[in-house]
Symmetry: C2
Subunit: 261 residues, 2 copies
């Protein structure tokens, strides 16, 4: 049973948008959307059948949960200015301690969706892992129930674990995408298209998932093929910064597998 | 029309295995499999209904194409020792010049499958891009026909382009997999499982494919969020080499998008 029927959404960005839609689809009533910029609040509120507000004073007290999906620095400042008595409030940030909400309410927690959201892309929220933390068991239980209405993968994680997941996601998402960007650039400079790599990229992901990445590693660095690596470094030696990335990662791969060769 | 009916496969590793199977499926007769190690030749030959041989002298001259799928250094030594008169011979290596085969035959070329192969995983060869190069138009035409029987994506590429693709693939496959390995390690150290990232990783790939990677970049480095980056560096400062990777890639991302912020 989900006791959290009425929700105030604080924030109107990518996370607020996708989470708001998923909450509404699961039967939660979004009563208000807050954003400092009224237009932003208005646009999302319209989608969610909610009231837009742009001052903290206008935020209702009649809600079961307050979800703060705002930028990290805004989070701290709102937490300072807003007192919710004992109402349940959560933030959605991967890298922020739960305690930042302590002054707002004794009943606080974290509701962190592990995904990279873009406004223009729909996300199947049922497949987005939700990392849950609560200031007490009652909060945690409520958040677990709420989470299970949205996602098939709801996981209890303390602040240390959540930060680790956030860090791991920087490697697996942000850094991986940058590797794609560099590939794309190298190909374009040689009149080739990034699409030539799609099949290879998908197989790379499938192998990591099915074999675990440490067993799936291949390439010149792993087998310490200095001839190929030197040729690659030679090819990129004028490309600012890319040579350093190539050398740093290759050296780490080489050392990582040195005992396994 | 494919004139290349009879094929000798030189090599019995991952590439030879997957390509041999694909060739056989497309109707090509694999007459011999060569490997220095007779057992290796024997195992693959049995799968392909071919004769196993382990000396260069035993290689037949009665074949339409000789495909060399061996390690880079072995390739050069076989090219030195084997003379095929004017028979068509190709190698399958991304980073090697076509000319290495010049002494074997005037009719030589490259038949490079862009994929990461593992013995234990089946590959849908129809989706593997094949990069083709020939020492003359006749060779190129024959290789294009042969390739189209195996793959839906057959592309003419000169040695410079093929090397660029190989380099791009190191970033998009080898380095990406190493990012996954680091993520996996960080998660395991915090009693979390790599599978928590699957949905995020798939979305990262889908975004790169659909939006192009340069438009899909997110994360603390892009938005120059030094607070988050410093916390991440603090969390990994004892992990050998990983701190350097984090700093190098983050700095490059930051500079890459500095004008776009």
């Amino acid at each position: 049973m989900n006791d959290l029927k009425r929700c105030v959404l604080i924030g109107a960005g990518n996370v607020a948008t996708h989470m708001g839609k998923a909450l509404k689809n699961s039967g939660v009533d979004i009563v208000q959307v807050y954003s400092r910029t009224f237009d932003h609040a208005h646009i999302l509120a319209e989608v969610l059948d909610a009231d837009p507000v742009n001052t903290l004073e206008a935020i209702t007290t009649k809600a079961d949960i307050f979800i703060m999906a705002v930028k990290d620095d805004v989070l701290a400042s709102i937490a300072n200015d807003l007192n919710l008595n004992d109402s349940l409030c959560v933030h959605t940030a991967g890298s922020i301690e739960m305690d930042v909400l302590e002054s707002m309410s004794a009943n606080h927690g974290v509701f962190y969706p592990l995904q990279t959201f873009s406004k223009q892309r729909n996300v199947d929220f049922s497949r987005v892992p939700l990392l849950i933390q609560g200031s007490n068991i009652d909060v945690e239980t409520k958040l677990l129930h709420l989470g299970r209405g949205l996602s098939n993968k709801v996981i209890k994680a303390d602040s240390k674990q959540r930060k680790a997941v956030h860090l791991a996601a920087v490697f697996a998402c942000n850094f991986v995408n940058h590797m794609f960007t560099i590939s794309d650039e190298i190909l374009r400079e040689n009149q080739m298209d990034f699409s030539i790599l799609y099949s290879l990229i998908q197989e790379t992901v499938d192998k990591a998932v099915n074999m675990s990445p440490v067993n799936a590693q291949t390439g010149p660095a792993k087998r310490n093929d200095r001839k190929v690596m030197d040729a690659h470094l030679e090819a990129i030696h004028k490309k600012s910064g890319i040579e350093e990335i190539y050398a740093t990662i290759s050296e780490h791969i080489y050392k990582y597998y040195i005992e396994k060769r």
